[in-house]
């Protein structure tokens, strides 16, 4: 590089600027990695006392595993109910918006569904507590009367309606927009030629969807459901408000069960010492579970990146 006065002046100040700016950008990126790492490390450090404590001192008196197991199962049950409801309905709504609704209303309808996602979770919780739970009581009574022989619906049904099934339904409402918006994006990306080819061969609209849209979108659907699962596992307020907690029981329409997130939210404000460490350990378990689910979901998306619109 030739060194005359002009270039040397601009290159010293400019090079510094470049270095500082790219350094700042790099630092911000690394900060994110460090933060995620720190989340894991700090939770682990604060949780350690629980793992080494005398089993008799941990809540329940039989060690951490006995304490955490029922609420892990409760978390999974709540998330499973949510997904069982939200997956078919969410995919239906996504198909409705992408392939059934008239073009003109499809956009606004998508926006309406996105509004569902914008409503804060505590409001869903309050709604579940005050509106949905009392509304569902007759339904629970009917279930316990007619299907009571199945352990899932064993009576007597809760008179307040604050049960696992109610919590699962509220969670379903909350994960529905996630599943819908992700799978809608993917349905819209189906190659038009595939769809038109199917229609040209005489397929009905449903046959076109079955043969052209669904196979194309399958990895996207799976990852959308997994991301919904991640949300349902970690959702706190809906469960904390709606579920009246208790021991792990198979019946979904009786008072009982608990999830990790709600356990933390309900007990953390008053916790100290070993109890605090227990709750943080529970948080660590939740973190690991959702991390696993999300990594699997993201892995599926990135493996099919060329098709999926989720990225």
């Amino acid at each position: 590089m030739t060194t005359n006065a002009l270039t040397s002046k601009s290159s010293t100040s400019g090079r510094m600027g470049d270095k500082i700016f790219s350094g700042a950008a790099l630092a911000a990126g690394i900060l994110i990695l460090v933060t995620l790492f720190a989340v894991a490390v700090f939770l682990l450090i604060q949780a350690l006392p629980t793992f080494f404590a005398d089993p008799a001192e941990v809540s329940g008196g039989q060690g951490f595993f006995t304490y955490i197991w029922p609420i892990v199962v409760g978390t999974v049950i709540a998330a499973a109910i949510a997904l069982l409801i939200a997956t078919p309905v969410g995919l239906g709504v996504a198909l409705f918006i992408s392939h059934f609704a008239p073009r003109k209303v499809a956009g606004p309808l998508g926006y309406v569904i996105d509004l569902l996602a914008a409503i804060p979770s505590v409001i869903y919780g309050a709604w579940g507590y005050m509106v949905l739970a009392p509304t569902l009581v007759p339904g629970f009574e009917w279930l316990s009367k007619n299907l009571g022989f199945i352990p899932l619906f064993e009576g007597p049904a809760s008179q307040t309606g604050k049960t696992m099934l109610t919590a699962g339904i509220v969670l379903a409402v909350m994960v529905l927009p996630i599943i819908t918006s992700l799978s809608r994006e993917i349905f819209l990306q189906t190659p038009k030629l595939h769809e038109e080819a199917a229609l040209a061969l005489g397929a009905t609209r449903w046959e076109m969807i079955k043969t052209a849209v669904i196979p194309f979108a399958r990895p996207g659907i799976i990852s959308a459901v997994m991301l919904g699962l991640g949300r349902a596992l970690g959702e706190t307020m809906a469960v904390a408000l709606v579920l009246s907690t208790g021991n792990l029981i198979p019946s979904l329409i009786k008072t009982g069960n608990q999830t990790i997130a709600a356990e933390i939210a309900l007990n953390f404000p008053e916790a100290f010492g070993l109890r605090l460490s227990e709750l943080i350990a529970a948080g660590l378990v939740l973190f690991l579970i959702t991390l696993l689910v999300n990594i699997i979901a993201r892995g599926i998306i990135s493996r099919h990146k060329e098709f999926s619109g989720a990225n």
């Binding site: 400019g14 470049d18 700016f21 790219s22 950008a25 790099l26 911000a28 990126g29 690394i30 994110i32 990695l33 933060t35 995620l36 989340v39 700090f42 939770l43 450090i45 604060q46 309905v89 969410g90 995919l91 239906g92 709504v93 198909l95 409705f96 609704a101 309406v112 509004l115 569902l116 914008a118 409503i119 804060p120 979770s121 505590v122 409001i123 309050a126 709604w127 509106v131 529905l176 009905t204 449903w206 046959e207 970690g234 959702e235 706190t236 307020m237 904390a240 408000l241 997130a261 953390f268 404000p269 605090l276 948080g283 939740l286 973190f287 959702t290 991390l291 999300n294 979901a297 993201r298």
Partner: protein, 380 residues
């Protein structure tokens, strides 16, 4: 295109197209349009009758009618138009049903919040805190019919302050990261790792983010360190990935020609980014940031474990406990001020819920407007 595909009937001669026959062979075996409406009407009538048998209520009526309609419409279409069209009809109606089912909770939530929240919204609620409001005060207002006292001013302030601090932390970090990913890190292993972990971070449960901030500050400041800034850190853990993703998307669609033109004029890279790339994408970035704020402003769980709960006004995020609107709602419902007369607390909770929904909706609307009004021109 249009020249080659003009209707041959028009191009061959001047003879007008003969009017369509009433029922040609192509339309044979098709259900007339009114038939579906007839089936729907029948289903509603039979559904009403069936639901009165088991004790009438709206839900049973709707469910019975829907099932009867679905079955009847499928059978009729199958009989008249064949099995394939019958299946098609069944799935079509099922998908319509899914959409209606999804709208019910949305309508119900919005209706409930409006119905129960509106009576509680007044200037007293908006501009006073819960300081000095005890169970006795609430009992009195229920027994004597006096207006409900106590408001959410402290919670509104807490929400705004904590969200502001969270934004101040996450916007620079998030934007710089996105700049790194798009401008500096193309194809590098580190940028791939960051992209992956940002995606993973999107899925962190909010309560875990809260626990992290609580554990982090707990180790530095002692186990009971609860104040606004801890909550702001917790919220920024949730907010950063959203900011990174939206900024990244926006920076990616800035056309490369702009960058090259700037480089050709001898402008340094950092000045190109600051003066050319970011301004081009700023509307999209702004709307993404607004959506991220809308997402964290309603978070409850992380605030619960990091900022505690307060009943008086606290404008200092660096000391003492703070309330936000979501935690205010939560505690008014879970631990009513007066355990024997919960109505005033419930009224305050719903009024706060209405306030919170209005805030979130306004933010969403602003984001949409910003994005659509100042939309950047795409490269292609």
């Amino acid at each position: 295109m249009s020249a080659t595909t003009t209707n041959p009937r028009h191009s061959t001669g001047g003879t007008p197209v003969p009017p369509a026959r009433k029922r040609n062979s192509l339309a044979k075996g098709k259900l007339p349009k009114w038939a579906i409406w007839a089936v729907a009407a029948g289903a509603i009538i039979i559904g009403a009758a069936a639901s009165t048998l088991t004790g009438f209520n709206i839900a049973a009526f709707a469910i019975y009618s829907a099932i009867i309609f679905l079955v009847a419409a499928t059978i009729i279409t199958t009989v008249v138009e064949g099995k394939r069209r019958g299946t098609n009809a069944m799935w079509t109606y099922l998908i319509y049903a899914c959409f209606i089912v999804a709208l019910i909770p949305l309508a119900s939530v919005l209706y409930t919040v409006l119905e129960k929240g509106l009576p509680g919204i007044n200037s007293h609620f908006l501009f006073s805190s819960m300081n000095g409001v005890t169970g006795a005060v609430d009992n009195q207002s229920v027994n004597d019919g006096a207006p409900v006292v106590g408001g959410a001013y402290h919670a509104v302030m807490g929400t705004l302050l904590i969200t502001l601090w969270a934004t101040l932390i996450s916007v620079p970090v998030g934007m710089l990261t996105a700049v790194y990913l798009v401008e500096y890190g193309q194809g590098k292993t580190l940028s791939k790792a960051i992209t992956f972990f940002v995606d993973v971070m999107t899925g962190i449960p909010s309560i875990v983010a809260g626990l992290f901030a609580a554990a982090f500050f707990g180790m530095i400041l002692g186990p009971s360190a609860r104040m606004g800034i801890v909550a702001a850190v917790a919220l920024s853990v949730l907010m950063i990935p959203t900011v990174v993703r939206s900024t990244e998307e926006m920076l990616k669609i800035v056309p490369n020609e702009l960058r090259e033109a700037s480089y050709a004029l001898g402008v340094r890279r950092w000045r190109t980014i600051l003066k050319v790339v970011v301004p081009t994408a700023i509307s999209g970035i702004a709307s993404g940031v607004t959506l991220a704020i809308a997402r964290v402003i309603g978070e409850t769980a992380p605030i619960l474990v990091t900022a505690g709960i307060a009943s008086q006004i606290n404008m200092n995020v660096f000391a003492n406990w703070m309330s936000t609107l979501p935690t205010f709602i939560y505690y008014q419902i879970m631990n009513p001020t007066s355990p024997t007369n919960v109505d005033p607390s419930v009224q305050r909770a719903w009024a706060a819920a209405l306030l919170l929904i209005l805030m979130v909706m306004a933010l969403n609307l602003i984001a949409r407007l910003v994005a659509s009004i100042f939309a950047p021109k795409k490269g292609r």
